[in-house]
C-alpha cells in the first residue's frame, strides 16, 4: 500500500508499540502533526522541546520502554540538545524525530535549518538523516533497535519535509541488518569462573552498583548475589533503587556525597565487584586513592566503560543479568566454600556495622526552621513504596539520594551524568503519563524549578497530578556551598534575590500551591497535597545555608570526607 512519509512514520511508531509521544509542532513537522489527528498515538504537548525530551526520558526511565519525541527543525531541534545529552549520559533509550528543511534546501542556510545530525553526533548513540523515502522504514526500525539494545541511548532521526509528503510502499522490515552492531553479549564463562574464585576468596568484599543494574532483571540477580554471600553493597546515584536501601547489607550511596560507611568500606575493601557502573569522577574521588587495596571485577555491557578511569583486574563484558545469573549459579556449586566465605567475612560486616553506628546519615534537626532533610524524611514516610521520585540538580538532589529509602528499580529518576537543572519536572510529567495511578513527586530546588516551570501548563492540560516539592533556600544552593567552603563565602551570583510567590505561580497555571515555613506544617502540607487530585506545588522555605555532608572535596580520596559543615 502506498503511503506518505509522515503516515509511514506514524504507522512504524504504532508497530513499535509506541502509545505516547512528546513533542512540539512547527513548519517542518506540520504534516506529521496533521496525520496525528487520525492516529491512535497519544501526543503530549509540552511547552518547550527540551521538556519534551526530558518527559520522554522520564517515561523511558520509569517504564524501560523507548521514549519518543517529535520536534520541528532549527530552533525546535536545537532545543532538544540538552535533553538528548542528558539521556545519552544516563543511557536512556529515546528516539527523537526532528523535522528538517526540504532536501534541496539542506546546506543552504534555509529558514529554520540547523545541522542537527552534526550537532547531536557526539550526544547520540546513533543518528540518521532520511534522504530517501525508501530508507524510512529501515531507519525507524534500526533506530528503535539501537536505542533499546546493548547499552541503551538516544537515537535521532532527521526527517526532511519533502520526504514526509512523498509516497512509497509501506513495508516495515521484521529484522535489522547492522553488520557492525552486536549489542547482546553473553558473559564469558571462564571470566565468570575467575570471578567466582575471587569472590569466594575475598575477605573484605563490596559490590558497587551503577545505573546499568537499575532494571528489575539485573536487580533480582544482584539481590541474590549479595544475600547468598552476605556481601555489603553500595550504589551510585544512578544505581539507587537497584537494591533496597533499608536492607541490612545496603551501604547507601558512595562518592562525593556518599555515606561515611560506603566510602570507608570501598577504601578498605579487598574486592570490588562493579556492576553496570562506570567509575565516574564523582564516585571515585582521587583515582589513585580509590579502593587502593581492592582487586576490581568490572561487569558491564559496554567495553568502552571498562578500564576507562580505573585499572581493572577482571573485566567481564556482558548483559548484567546474564553475567550475574551465571555467577550466582556457579556459586551454588560451592556450598562449603560459600559457608566458609560467609564466616570469614563476618568480621568485615561487623566493622561496617560499627561505621554505620558511629556515622549514620544524619542532620541536626530543628523545631524553628524547616530542615530540607526533614522534608525528605517526611516524604519517605508518606509516599508509597512504588512512588516515583524525580529531582532537579543541586543540594536537594543529594539530600533526596541520602534520605529517601529507594527500594525498587526505576523509582528514582535523576540526571546523574549530565546533571541537568530543569530535568525533574518534565521527567516527572513523563513518568506520570506512563503511570497515571502512581504517586509521582518532583523534588526540586528554587533555582532548578525555574528552568522548566512552564511545564506546569502541560501538567494542568493533561491532568497529571505530579506533586512538586520546592526546597526553597533562595540560593543556587549547591554552588553556594562550594563558594562557602572553597571561595571564602564570596556568594557570586548564587543568591536568588527576587522572592517568587510560588503559590501564585501555581495558581496562574490553574494548579494548586502551598507555601510553608514552619517544621510542624510539613507533614500536614504533604498530606493535603497528596489529597489534591491535580498537580500541586509545595514550597518549603528551608534553612538557607544548610550544607550537604558528608562531602569529599573534588580531587580528594573517598576517606577524606568533610563530615560536618
Amino acid at each position: 500500500m502506498k503511503m506518505t512519509g509522515s503516515k509511514i512514520l506514524l504507522e512504524c511508531l504504532r508497530l513499535e508499540g509506541v502509545e505516547t509521544v512528546f513533542g512540539f509542532p512547527g513548519g517542518t513537522v506540520i504534516n506529521i502533526y496533521d496525520d496525528l489527528v487520525d492516529s491512535p498515538i497519544h501526543h503530549i504537548l509540552t511547552r518547550h522541546e527540551q521538556a519534551a525530551v526530558h518527559a520522554a526520558d522520564g517515561y523511558a526511565r520509569a517504564t524501560g520502554k523507548v521514549g519518543v519525541v517529535i520536534a520541528t527543525s532549527g530552533p525546535g531541534a536545537t532545543n532538544t540538545v540538552t535533553g538528548i545529552a542528558t539521556a545519552y549520559m544516563d543511557s536512556v533509550p529515546l528516539v527523537v524525530i526532528t523535522g528538517q528543511v526540504p532536501t534541496p534546501l539542506i546546506g543552504n542556510d534555509a529558514f529554520q535549518e540547523a545541522d542537527i545530525v552534526g550537532i547531536t553526533r557526539p550526544i547520540t548513540k546513533h543518528n540518521y538523516l532520511v534522504k530517501d523515502i525508501q530508507d524510512l522504514c529501515r531507519i525507524i526500525k534500526e533506530a528503535f533497535f539501537i536505542a533499546r539494545t546493548g547499552r541503551p541511548g538516544p537515537v535521532l532521526i532527521d526527517f526532511p519535509k519533502d520526504i514526509q509528503v512523498t509516497s512509497a510502499n509501506f513495508d516495515y522490515p521484521e529484522t535489522v541488518s547492522l553488520p557492525g552492531y552486536k549489542p547482546t553479549y553473553s558473559g564469558n564463562l571462564r571470566q565468570v569462573e575467575k570471578a567466582v574464585k575471587m569472590i569466594l576468596a575475598a575477605k573484605h568484599p563490596v559490590i558497587y552498583v551503577g545505573g546499568g543494574a537499575n532494571t528489575p532483571d539485573a536487580a533480582r540477580w544482584l539481590h541474590q548475589l549479595a544475600e547468598t554471600l552476605e556481601i555489603p553493597l553500595t550504589t551510585t546515584l544512578m544505581g539507587m533503587g537497584a537494591f533496597p536501601k533499608k536492607h541490612p547489607l545496603s551501604l547507601g550511596m558512595l562518592g562525593m556525597h556518599g555515606t561515611y560507611y560506603a566510602n570507608m568500606a570501598v577504601t578498605e575493601a579487598d574486592l570490588l565487584v562493579a556492576v553496570g557502573a562506570r567509575f565516574d569522577d564523582r564516585v571515585t574521588g582521587s583515582v589513585p586513592h580509590f579502593a587502593p587495596h581492592a582487586k576490581i571485577i568490572h561487569i558491564d555491557i559496554d567495553p568502552t566503560s571498562i578500564k576507562k578511569n580505573v585499572r581493572v583486574d577482571l573485566p567481564i563484558v556482558g548483559d548484567l543479568h546474564d553475567v550475574l545469573e551465571k555467577i550466582v549459579t556457579q556459586l551454588a556449586e560451592f556450598p562449603e566454600e560459600m559457608k566458609r566465605a560467609r564466616e570469614e567475612t563476618a568480621s568485615w560486616r561487623s566493622r561496617i556495622a560499627a561505621w554505620k553506628e558511629s556515622h549514620p546519615v544524619r542532620y541536626t534537626p530543628s523545631s524553628l526552621v524547616i530542615k530540607p532533610q526533614f522534608v525528605i524524611e517526611k516524604l519517605r514516610e508518606l509516599a508509597p513504596d512504588d512512588a516515583i521520585i524525580t529531582t532537579e540538580v543541586g543540594q536537594h538532589q543529594m539530600w533526596t539520594a541520602q534520605f529517601f529509602d529507594f527500594s525498587r528499580p526505576r523509582t528514582f529518576l535523576t540526571s546523574g551524568g549530565l546533571g541537568t537543572m530543569g530535568f525533574g519536572l518534565p521527567a516527572a510529567l513523563g513518568a506520570q503519563v506512563a503511570f497515571p495511578e502512581r504517586r509521582v513527586i518532583d523534588i526540586s530546588g528554587d533555582g532548578s524549578f525555574q528552568m522548566n516551570s512552564q511545564e506546569l501548563a502541560t501538567l494542568v492540560q493533561f491532568q497529571l497530578p505530579v506533586k512538586i516539592v520546592i526546597l526553597n533556600n533562595n540560593y543556587l544552593g549547591m554552588v553556594r556551598q562550594w563558594q562557602q567552603l572553597f571561595f571564602q563565602r564570596r556568594y557570586s551570583q548564587t543568591v536568588l534575590e527576587v522572592p517568587i510567590d510560588f503559590v501564585k505561580l501555581a495558581e496562574a497555571y490553574g494548579a494548586v500551591g502551598f507555601s510553608v515555613s514552619r517544621p510542624d506544617e510539613v507533614e500536614e502540607t504533604i498530606r493535603r497535597a497528596f489529597d489534591v487530585p491535580g498537580p500541586v506545588i509545595m514550597e518549603f522555605k528551608v534553612e538557607r545555608e544548610e550544607n550537604v555532608v558528608p562531602m569529599v572535596p573534588a580531587g580528594k580520596a573517598l576517606n577524606e570526607m568533610v563530615l560536618s559543615s
Binding site: 545530525v117 552534526g118 553526533r121 557526539p122 548513540k125 546513533h126 538523516l129 539501537i146 547492522l178 553488520p179 557492525g180 552492531y181 559496554d302 567495553p303 568502552t304 578500564k307 576507562k308
Partner: protein, 163 residues
C-alpha cells in the same frame, strides 16, 4: 607513541565525521587518514595514523568499535605489516640542479610525472621513512609544493581482515 589503525566502515555519508569526531572530541590529532572503498563497495577502509598513550588509544579503539557503522578495527601497532605511502613533490629544476633532482629521483625509484620549465613533479612511493628521506634530500633544490597520501597498510602473510 605512533599508532596505525585500520577501520572497516559502512560506506555511508557521515561515517567519516563520526570517526573524526571521536578523535577531536578527545583533543586528539589525526596525523594522517586515507579512505577508499574495499572490494565490497558497501564497505570502506580507513587507515588512520595518530599519536597517543596506550590508555587513550585503547579507549579510542573501543569507541571506534562502538560506532554503529564500524565493522572492524585493527590496530597494526607492533604488528608485522606492509606500510606504503605516496607523495607528489613539485621541485625546482634549475639548470644547475636538474641533474641532481633526477639522480635523487632515480635512487628512490621515483618517477617524474610532470615536467615544466624549471620545475619537475615527482611521484614517490614507499614507507613513510623513505618518503621522508627523499623530501629531505630534495629540500635544498627547492620544494615548491608537497602532497602526501598518508600510509595505507596491510598485515603481512596470507591472513586477511576483510571477510
Amino acid at each position: 607513541m605512533k599508532h596505525i589503525i585500520s577501520v572497516l566502515v559502512e560506506n555511508e555519508f557521515g561515517v567519516l565525521a563520526r570517526v573524526a569526531g571521536l578523535f577531536s572530541g578527545r583533543g586528539f590529532n589525526i596525523e594522517s587518514l586515507s579512505v577508499a572503498p574495499t572490494l565490497d563497495p558497501a564497505i570502506s577502509r580507513m587507515t588512520i595514523v595518530t599519536h597517543g598513550d596506550e590508555r587513550i588509544l585503547e579507549q579510542i579503539n573501543k569507541q571506534l568499535h562502538k560506532l554503529i557503522n564500524t565493522i572492524r578495527v585493527i590496530d597494526f601497532t607492533g604488528q608485522d605489516r606492509v606500510e606504503r605511502e605516496m607523495a607528489l613533490i613539485k621541485v625546482s629544476a634549475e639548470e644547475d640542479t636538474r641533474a641532481e633532482v633526477l639522480r635523487i629521483a632515480d635512487i628512490f625509484r621515483a618517477k617524474v610525472v610532470d615536467v615544466a620549465p624549471r620545475c619537475y613533479t615527482i611521484e614517490v612511493t614507499g614507507t613513510p621513512g623513505k618518503v621522508e628521506a627523499i623530501v629531505e634530500l630534495l629540500k635544498p633544490m627547492g620544494i615548491r609544493e608537497l602532497v602526501r597520501t598518508g600510509p595505507v597498510v596491510l598485515g603481512r602473510g596470507p591472513k586477511v581482515v576483510e571477510k
